[in-house]
Symmetry: C2
DNA sequence: AAAAAGGTTAGCATCAAGCTAAGTACTTTC
DNA sequence: GAAAGTACTTAGCTTGATGCTAACCTTTTT
């Protein structure tokens, strides 16, 4: 019963998908510029940034040996990288209550905001949203919800 | 004449803005993970990446002295960075037809896709969109159009 | 013809990141 | 409780990228 109209629906779907991707392309240009702005003022090496991103992602923080293993470097090397992050005020080392050999490493608020600023750069900011016609805002919310739902669906099954 | 009902509309607006930002927050977590994935396999220094991003952004390409000036380094230093980008196959140098002293530097397709992969990582990909209910897809398009319009508006006046 | 501009190369200094080896402090095992 | 193992730091080293100045070549401008 859904056979009829499918063809026409698929045409509209493809047309909309193309439209959205074209709009997305324009946004990405702005996104690239914003990302570049942030990277220009970033006084870190790429390795330091990578480690910091892991620290920000994992709320429980990391350990020297764990990070060394994930990055495929020696513990001594990772110790040096962490030194520099701590010196920059982006991470802290603290004692692990369970095992006094390990030093738990966490991103500081500064470290977290440094990393988030690289990602948060999308155009869907409060000041943009607040100036949108209400009707469009409702539509955007519906679309976001649907995408969010779909992403969870696909990451479960795929 | 628009005074009445504004209060109620503003409440709904704020509520929707919060909803969208919360959904965006969830997306950003995934975005961060994707960005990290790409950075992990990136065999570049941050300075090389920054220069490459400028090359990708400016379609006409760059010149050694122009790039040196924007980055605040000597021409000799920039020449070295460009050497490494060329060696990696991410940029090319070619003669400038107007002035045979300058060498025009362009990002290669590989360089462009390397940079784009860092930014394109959003969840609004074709395979996600194609699985969305048509109604939601229409709503998303409407929302995207509105945001795109609003961003242009605000960047003109602001 | 002289001066100026764009670019490359050579030579040097500095710093981050990588390693191994040695040492400290704590846990686990026997 | 002694021995073995684990987590981490520090010292000493090598390599590679970035930065500089100085010298040079080529091309354009004056």
């Amino acid at each position: 019963m859904r056979e009829e109209g499918t063809d026409q629906g698929e045409h509209e779907r493809e047309s909309i998908v193309r439209d959205i991707q074209s709009l997305k392309g324009a946004m990405e240009e702005a996104l690239l510029a914003t990302l570049l702005q942030h990277l220009l003022t970033l006084d870190l090496t790429l390795q330091q940034l990578r480690v910091l991103m892991v620290l920000v992602s994992t709320k429980e923080g990391g350990t020297g040996s764990g990070l060394a293993a994930s990055f495929g470097v020696s513990l001594a090397s990772m110790s040096g990288v962490l030194d520099r992050l701590v010196t920059h005020g982006l991470a802290t080392r603290s004692a692990d209550p369970d095992d006094h050999r390990v030093r738990r490493v966490h991103a500081t608020p500064l470290g977290a905001s440094t990393v988030r600023s690289l990602v948060v750069a999308g155009p869907f900011q409060g000041d943009v949203l607040r100036n949108l016609p209400l009707e469009d805002l409702r539509a955007l919310e519906q679309g976001f919800r649907a995408v969010s739902r779909q992403v969870s669906l696909m990451s479960e099954s795929g």
